[in-house]
């Protein structure tokens, strides 16, 4: 098996440590807008990163291939590309593929200090899971009672193929695999990465972004955030001290943590809880950042039983240590801080727009007149959903829509 961590983690550290700035903006009415503002906001937080990683996730950007999985792949060599394409052609129905549009790496100042002006080969593929594969998988699936079983087994299939490419094929790495969404990331300051990928030309209703300050990795494009699997994407600021426990638990559930980053375990944890175990998103947040036992002890009976059950069943998915994350998927953006509030998260609302950011200033840069802005409490998720509501913690606030 190819050791991805050997690329992103050449010194074989327990995990790649990185701290950062993050930003997310979403129209809860599904209004689309370009990547211009999110780039502007990230440029405002330039100093939270050190130029060793920047990236974006955008939702609603591929309406013409809405029902296809969009695989964004980076290659270090032509051989990797050829092998991967042969694999993709056997594993999927390929609908369309093309080079990812980008500007000249040298003039875009990407690549970082060591490899300035260079970029990997960046290609995208719009694919479907072949009908016969789907039929076979559904026939073999024991879970007869599940709704959307087609989508579910197709997702499982895609995860498996992505893991195969990532772990088996040299010089190839799938960094985005969702439908009607895409991740754009690389080595460089986020504003330079955004410019490199021409993000001002895309149009999406939900954007998240990340500027990275890793302490110990050399520049590898795949190591930047967001980290994504299917249409989940995660940007993350923090260092998770429970990493070893989280990883051991996820490995027990078949996730191979090949990148050795905290962000990767969060993405897998969310996939396990929300997709495979079908927990509602606000419950997922309570697993990642549960209330303290002293708070649980004060809750009324049913709520206490619920939170006790969560802590007992998923103790190994508690994310301990400082973190702020913005998780996104189609139609939903979730912001969450660690329960003792060691890393910052600010929220802002203006009309149908929900903003989440490490600092307030970048929000003000793109939207000077906010209806409301506040510091998010530890362990209380802020959830923006298509349909016009923003849910904060246990209570709901209606976004002025």
């Amino acid at each position: 098996m190819k050791g991805l961590d050997r690329i992103t983690n050449p010194f074989n550290d327990d995990k790649v440590i990185s701290n950062c700035g993050l930003f997310g903006m979403m129209s809860t009415r599904g209004r689309k807008f370009s990547g211009r503002d999110v780039i502007l906001a990230m440029a405002n937080m330039h100093d939270r990163g050190n130029g060793l990683g920047g990236g974006f996730a955008a939702y609603g950007i591929y309406p013409e291939y809405e029902d296809c999985y969009a695989l964004h792949v980076m290659y270090e060599s032509m051989a990797g590309k050829e092998q991967t394409e042969a694999f993709i052609r056997t594993a999927f129905d390929l609908v369309h593929d093309e080079e990812m549009p980008h500007r000249d790496p040298a003039s875009s100042r990407v690549g970082g200090a060591y490899t300035a002006g260079t970029a990997p080969i960046l290609w995208r593929y719009f694919v479907r899971v072949p009908e016969n594969v789907l039929k076979d998988m559904i026939r073999e699936d024991a879970r007869k009672d599940i709704k959307n079983i087609e989508e579910d087994v197709a997702d499982d299939y895609v995860v498996k193929q992505v893991m195969t490419i990532d772990t088996q094929i040299a010089d190839a790495y799938v960094f985005s695999s969702g439908k009607n969404m895409g991740v754009f990331k690389g080595v460089g300051y986020p504003e330079d990465i955004g410019n490199f990928f021409c993000l001002e030309e895309y149009s999406g209703y939900l954007w998240t972004a990340h500027g990275r300050f890793p302490t110990n990795t050399q520049a590898w494009w795949g190591g930047a955030h967001p980290f994504s699997l299917l249409d989940w994407s995660v940007v993350h600021n923090g260092e998770i001290s429970s990493y070893g426990t989280n990883r051991a638990f996820l490995e027990m559930h078949g996730y191979y943590c090949c990148m050795h980053t905290d962000t990767e375990v969060i993405a897998y944890a969310v996939d396990l809880l929300a997709r495979r175990h079908r927990l509602p998103m606000d419950i997922v947040a309570k697993v990642l950042a549960p209330p303290l036992w002293t708070a649980i002890d004060r809750m009324p009976g049913p709520e206490r039983r619920l939170h006790t059950a969560l802590r007992l069943t998923y103790p190994a998915l508690l994310m301990n240590g400082p973190f702020t994350i913005i998780i996104a998927r189609q139609g939903e953006m979730i912001g969450l801080r660690d329960r003792i509030q060691l890393r910052p998260l600010v929220a802002g609302i203006k009309d149908d727009m929900l903003y989440l950011s490490s600092e307030e200033a970048p929000i003000r840069v793109v939207c000077p007149e906010l209806d409301e802005t506040w510091t998010v409490k530890g362990g209380e998720p802020i959830i923006g959903r298509l349909g016009g509501r923003v849910i904060t913690g246990s209570e709901s606030r209606a976004a002025a829509s």
């Binding site: 995990k15 001290s241 070893g244 051991a248 490995e251 619920l306 059950a309 007992l312 190994a316």
Partner: protein, 499 residues
């Protein structure tokens, strides 16, 4: 027959300091000291001395010093003094040498070769005096996942037992330890919000009020087992093996079976209480499963069932079978675990260190995807809070402490528990000796010890940037090995220091 054994300890009494108060005479349960009326002198029979230090501790003037006897055989690296004496002892008695407490051989203590992590710069450490620090732990089987229907939780939780600190008092039976000592364990467990284990000697009626804090054992002798015994307790533990004597049963001599012990064990007074080596209804894993489910039936599926084994060579595979057989808790007892009485040759030669067994079991259950289906309790030689936190990082849910708890009550590891003469009143049945252990003072000492360790665990957790013990469980990245070989690092699943 004239004994060829030399005394092991020498008694030095400073005659200038001695005031002839006779405390040592009364306190020594081994009959070392005697007062000679005619000469107004205290004389000592050194060959009876076991080095328990009771007299030296209580002598009001500090007149006594008990030291290892300075006699020396011709040095011989192959034939140590211990070997010589053991041969001579057997030649004199023709009997198996019995001893108390755990393996005292200088095998590698893996806890001492594991180092803990701490946060610097990229991740803040947490100050437990200012921030919450959660040690609450739940013992019992956990579901594979939760199922919600229309926003409501519909998964039923298997029975769980909550403890506020991951430290439990290990199995010590009434009979092996005194009534007073067992009372102290019950009171301390209650005050600390943790558990104590009755061992296999039954459960005195007047201790049943401590039920929420008690684990009862169902062992090969089935002493004291009846429906009330099972249903009053928090957890029922099937005892298959014990770290100090894997593969063999137990024997409480008739002299220790007083009326009270007899009533508790449900056997006639003065008869030997024999625990067979195997449980005579368990000759295979499916038999174990039947006993587990019989106990679940008897307790209406309301209590976790624990199965305790000694740490032996293939403990990991056995543990996996136990989980599949329905055990909600796996207890594993390493070869340094104590005992009231065991053949010395077994205590010192059978079994493996608990550290290695724990690492192997946790790893195996994870690989098989069933780690959540049982809690892991570890026993066998915890000496301080660092040992305990390292066990949790290796994958334990909580630890059993036995020897350390006895030391807190006064024990000096003189290894005479089997004689029933414990000068500290801990493992004595003779009411005259046993009553010197004041249960309330002993309770205080036990509570203090566990409190202190709990605070230390919080300090170390905070240092690692962790505020909840579940985030350390099985988190071997917070451990590094030092002075270990490749295979040892591999079994423990840790990197070497600096790696």
């Amino acid at each position: 027959m004239k004994s060829y054994l030399l005394p092991q300890f020498a008694v030095y009494r400073d005659d200038d300091k001695c005031i002839r108060c006779k405390v040592c005479v009364r306190q020594c349960s081994f009959g070392v000291h005697a007062y000679d009326d005619e000469d107004d002198e205290i004389r000592s029979n050194e060959s009876a001395c076991v080095g328990c230090q009771r007299c030296a501790t209580l002598c009001p003037t500090g007149a006594l010093v008990i030291r290892q006897h300075p006699h020396e055989f011709r040095p011989n690296a192959n034939w140590s003094e211990e070997m010589l004496l053991d041969v001579k002892r057997k030649a004199e008695t023709g009997a198996v040498t019995i001893t108390g407490m755990g393996n005292d051989k200088p095998h590698r203590v893996y806890w001492d070769h594991l180092l803990l992590n701490a946060s610097q710069v990229t991740n803040p450490s947490i100050d437990p005096l200012r921030e919450p620090m959660e040690l609450r732990t739940f013992l019992g089987r956990k579901p594979d996942g939760l199922v919600f229907k229309d926003g409501r939780l519909i998964t039923d939780m298997p029975p769980q037992v909550m403890i506020e600190t991951p430290i439990i008092f290990s199995a010590m039976s009434y009979g092996a330890i005194s009534y007073q000592a067992q009372l102290a364990f019950m009171q301390a467990a209650q005050e600390l919000g943790t558990l104590c284990n009755t061992g296999e000697g039954g459960w005195p009626m007047d201790f049943r009020r401590f039920g929420r804090n008690v684990i009862v054992q169902c062992a090969s002798g089935r002493f004291g087992v009846d429906p009330d015994y099972l249903n009053q307790a928090a957890i029922v533990e099937i005892k298959i093996g014990q770290g100090a004597k894997p593969g063999i049963g137990g024997h409480l001599p008739g002299e220790k079976v007083t009326a009270a012990v007899a009533a508790t064990r449900m056997i006639p007074e003065g008869t030997d209480a024999l625990s067979p080596a195997p449980q005579h209804d368990i000759y295979s894993i499916e038999d174990l499963s039947m006993l587990i489910y019989a106990l679940k039936e008897a307790t209406n599926y309301e209590k976790p069932i624990s199965v305790k084994i000694a740490a032996v060579h293939n403990a990991a595979a056995i543990a996996s079978g136990m989980v599949r057989a329905g055990a909600d808790i796996i207890a594993v007892d390493g070869f340094r675990g104590g005992t009231g009485a065991a053949p010395r040759v077994i205590r010192d030669n059978v079994g493996i260190p608990t550290e290695l067994a724990l690492a192997a079991i946790d790893e195996r259950l994870r690989r098989e995807g069933i780690r959540n289906r049982a809690s892991i309790l570890v026993a066998g030689g915890f000496r301080n809070s660092a040992d305990i936190i390292k066990a949790i990082a290796l994958g334990a849910d909580a630890v059993y402490i036995g020897t350390a708890a006895l030391v807190a009550m006064g024990c000096t590891l003189c290894q005479q528990c089997n004689t029933g003469k414990c000068a500290w009143g801990i493992t004595a049945q003779d009411p005259y000796i046993a009553k010197r252990l004041n249960p309330d003072i002993a309770t205080r000492r036990l509570v203090n010890l566990v409190r202190a360790w709990t605070l230390e665990i919080k300090e170390m957790l905070g240092g690692m940037g962790i505020n909840s013990i579940e985030s350390l469980r099985g988190n071997r990245l917070h451990l590094r090995g030092i002075g270990l070989q490749e295979w040892e690092l591999e079994v423990l699943g840790v990197k070497g220091a600096g790696q």
